[in-house]
């Protein structure tokens, strides 16, 4: 009798047993907790990507501009430019760091923390 139980029938019973087992039910709130965690990671990844893209674009524009200047006025203009930067690095370096810090806080940290 039961030893003759068909595989198909047995599979149906096993499926039913597994489906109704409470251990297989996802605990309440776990999905939302996981989504929140992943959303924060996803947002951080997107913000960093956007920041790097924008920074890259600005640097590219500066490089093109420098190329155009060098093309018009000769390569000496770039040498003079870098000499001026080297002469005033005590002002330029902190200004760049302060600028980058402000942009990172504004574009990444504040947006990221607002989701927390």
């Amino acid at each position: 009798m039961m030893a003759n139980i068909e595989n198909g029938e047995l599979d149906k019973i096993i499926h039913g047993a597994l489906k109704t087992d409470y251990n297989f039910v996802l605990p309440d709130g776990l999905m939302e907790k996981t989504i929140k965690k992943l959303e924060k990671k996803a947002l951080l990844r997107r913000l960093i990507f956007e920041f790097c893209s924008k920074t890259g674009l600005v640097l590219l524009c500066l490089a093109v501009l420098a190329g155009v200047f060098a093309g018009i006025k000769g390569p000496d203009v770039l040498v003079q430019f870098f000499e001026k930067i080297a002469d005033h690095w005590q002002i330029i370096v902190p200004a760049i760091i302060a600028g980058l810090f402000t942009i990172i806080v504004d574009q990444i940290a504040l947006k990221y923390l607002s989701l927390s």
């Binding site: 009798m1 039961m2 047995l10 096993i14 047993a17 087992d21 251990n23 999905m31 996981t34 992943l38």
Partner: protein, 191 residues
């Protein structure tokens, strides 16, 4: 949204896609975790670890297999690591000699006519006593309805081994039912 687009958007950090990914695959991941580690206080952490790993590695998904298979394989890997770390590997369960289980089930039925719920509990007790690999294969095959080929990709076992586990698992469960539920034919008509 198809799987390839979904995972691509997740890789870009698209927040709604992340939610969709979790909603689509939460049950698969939870089922694999439960089948491999049982009722465990660390299951919720494992669940989150799996999703973090998927998120971290989603650029590696090339679409050669189904997304669910790829996710299943990651989940399996995370659970194997966990079991190894905790040294929770179980030994092969000999269902014929497991008197404790049989006594427990017989005591539960205690001469009364078995009902559908009894069959379910009985089967789950039997399935839960199976070794981890059997439990995982049975869950993937019967609950998630994966093919033997997909299960082989998820678990890294040869397809022949998967087929053999399914067949031996069936035999074990069939014998338990045969021994303990004399009125199964009647109950089967309800399914």
């Amino acid at each position: 949204m198809d799987d390839q687009t979904l995972i691509h958007k997740v890789a870009e950090g698209d927040v709604p896609s992340v939610r969709l990914l979790v909603e689509r695959h939460r049950n698969l991941i939870w089922h694999i975790i439960v089948s491999m580690t049982g009722r465990n206080k660390d299951n919720e952490d494992l669940f989150q670890d799996v999703f973090l790993k998927i998120f971290k590695n989603c650029r590696d998904f090339r679409g050669k297999s189904k997304l669910s298979t790829w996710i299943g394989a990651i989940t399996h890997h995370v659970c194997v690591d966990y079991l190894r770390r905790k040294k929770l590997e179980t030994t092969l369960w000999d269902y014929n000699n497991d008197l404790q289980l049989t006594r427990h089930i017989q005591a539960e039925l205690n001469g009364k006519k078995a009902e559908k719920e009894d069959i379910n509990r009985l089967l789950m007790a039997a399935i839960n006593k199976l070794p981890v690999d059997y439990h995982t294969v049975i869950t993937l095959y019967h609950l998630e309805e994966f093919s033997c080929h997909d299960i082989s990709e998820i678990t890294g076992m040869p397809e022949g081994t998967v087929k053999s586990y399914i067949s031996r698992g069936r035999s074990a469960l069939r014998e338990i039912l045969t021994a303990l539920v004399p009125d199964l034919a009647e109950i089967l008509s309800d399914y």
